[in-house]
């Protein structure tokens, strides 16, 4: 187990700058997610940590050692590939024992370790089958077992859940997190699924076009996004232009045309800078629709429902207020609102965040 640190890590493929000066620290035994849209350089970072890709600049440290020039097979890392990459000509037992062979583990211990790894991923007794005889979810677990049986310093997971169907995906992510927690291995998880990232991570690294956009706990990146990209990428939000008016009572006051003065909590306005232009972010699920007047202490405006996107116990509403359409995600109590309904749209200033204008 070890702490991993990337210092100014850079990778270019010819003119393509896949990763630009990434500074990221992965704490010992932590679970960190690299999150970002397709092509933002997540896989490239993972491959550089593994040694499968040579950085064009910067350093990779595992523990206290710089590993840039350590060959792949000496890095002691476990990787789970997106398509599992199990060896089709080897049995499950041989697949899992593959890494043990090169670690001079005696034959007698090998079988026990393989059995133990299969127990950890809850698939006992499949040693003699071939990968093609297992389902996608089972293969994914075997890939995990093969990666953890060698007791790696770092576990690298490249979208390991993306090939699974929605239900299996949810249960596997709980299980994966539980296994990671139990063996306490430093893990780097790559995904472009924000709910996966929020549910599993100790820390999230949000990436955009090869650059780190924000690093923080799920709560931080969700509630206190550093910029508009992060706010937009994690969850549905309404981002509204405003002007910085001043500070009062531990709050930063934003003047927004539609709502007047909105006092945003200081800790949620850390990135806003000195203004005067700034933006107000309201999460869709924090915008409440009511038929009558809004509850006490909320900022409210009147609007008309434009469209409804029914999602079971939730509904996503598109509400028109003046020139703008707002997105709101509400629990359905009784009957959902219908398009054309006149509603009161309200939010609590405590749920808002302020963003710098330029991003």
């Amino acid at each position: 187990m070890a702490r991993v640190e990337l210092k100014g890590l850079t990778k270019s493929f010819g003119p393509v700058k896949a990763v630009q000066a990434a500074d990221i620290a992965f704490e010992d035994a932590s679970f960190t997610t690299l999150l970002g849209p397709s092509g933002c350089g997540k896989t490239t970072i993972l491959r550089m940590i593994a040694g499968l890709e040579q950085p064009t600049g910067g350093d990779i440290l595992v523990g206290a050692d710089r590993v840039n020039d350590v060959p792949i097979h000496k890095r002691n890392l476990g990787i789970v590939f997106q398509n599992y990459a199990l060896f089709p000509h080897r049995t499950i037992g041989e697949n899992i024992a593959f890494g043990l062979k090169y670690r001079k583990v005696p034959k007698s211990e090998m079988a026990a370790k393989v059995r133990n790894a299969l127990d950890v991923v809850r698939l006992p007794g499949v040693e003699d089958r071939y990968p093609s005889q297992l389902s996608g979810g089972q293969q994914q677990r075997i890939a995990l077992a093969r990666a953890i049986v060698i007791e790696p310093d770092v576990l690298l997971l490249d979208e390991p859940l993306s090939a699974l169907d929605a239900n299996l995906r949810e249960s596997m992510r709980v299980e994966l997190k539980a296994i990671q927690h139990r063996i306490g291995v430093t893990s780097v998880f790559v995904t472009h699924d924000q709910s996966e990232a929020l549910a599993m991570s100790d820390r999230i690294v949000v990436m955009s076009a090869g650059k780190v956009a924000q690093i923080g706990t799920p709560e931080e990146v969700y509630n206190r996004p550093a910029n508009e990209f992060v706010a937009d990428f994690l969850g549905a939000s309404n981002i509204i232009e405003g002007r910085l008016q001043g500070r009062a009572d531990g709050a930063v006051v934003l003047q927004v045309d539609a709502f007047g003065a909105v006092p945003v909590r200081e800790d949620r306005a850390a990135s806003v800078g000195s203004g005067p232009a700034a933006k107000l972010m309201i999460r869709a699920e924090k915008l409440l629709l009511t038929e009558g007047p809004a509850p006490e202490g909320r900022i409210a405006v009147k609007g008309v429902v434009e469209a409804v996107d029914y999602q079971g116990q939730l509904a996503r509403y598109f509400v028109r207020v003046g020139e703008r359409t707002y997105q709101a995600m509400n629990m359905i109590e009784g009957r959902p609102f219908a398009a054309g309904d006149e509603v009161t749209l309200s939010f609590s200033p405590a749920d808002c965040a302020a963003l710098p204008a330029g991003t």
Binding site: L52, I72, F87, P88, H89, F98, Y102
Partner: protein, 290 residues
Amino acid sequence: MALEVAKFDKRPWVLLSPALVTITALVVIPMAFMLAYSFYLNVDLAVDKPAFQFGNWIEIATDKYYYVAIWKTFRLSMIVTLLAAILGYVPAYFIAMTRFRHKWMLLLLLIMPFWISFIIRTLSWIHILGHDGAINSLLLYLGVIRHPMDMMYNQYTVIVGFIHVFLPYMILNIYVSLDGIDRNLEPAARTLGATGWQAFREVTLPLSLPGLGAGCLLVFVLTAGSYVTPLILGGPNDFLFGNLIYDAIITELNWPMGAALSITLLVLLGVVVIVYSRLMGLRQLAKAFA
């Protein structure tokens, strides 16, 4: 319902029938003629008498000369196959693994020789290795040698000629099976602790065996059945079994003997194919050919 399901399904046979008719007309019937011909009696040059006698077969079974020819054919085919496998694997691996964007160009280069007649390609070696060939001329001109070296008309030129014409078959077969291997397998093996060479040996090589096996079989059978290459590039002693057939039919005009020899070669190669597929696993071969 159950009865209906069990009913004989004619469709596969309908679809197969054109192929079956063609094969019957062009392969099975001529071969039956050949088999019948092998029992005929050769009276004189090009004069045969219909008969049912085993003279030709007894001669093949008892004359040591034919055994020597079979052994020579087998040995040379093995050498050519082995060399082609080794020489073919490297370019196949390179073409399969390269990130070069215009891979199709490399494959085209591989197929391009097929545009030129195989006999012309074989004859070209005379202009390279012969007394007045490129190598001798150059060395004479440079004064390295005083008299042209004898490099032609021996076993080695025959091997070179065979490899020259059959190598593309080997490369294509290996390439197809390498290309089907998941690109992440070798990296996966390497992160688990295997060196590059170990990862190749444990993962890529075994997974490319179907293609390698198919390529070997193809080159072996093609070599064992040829007669033109030894005729053009070999010396008097470098004949293969195919040359005996050629001699019997073209030179001695003894068609019944030629027919018997042809069937012998066909059966021998058939046995090789069957034994080989058993060893390799027929299904793996089918996969490689698919």
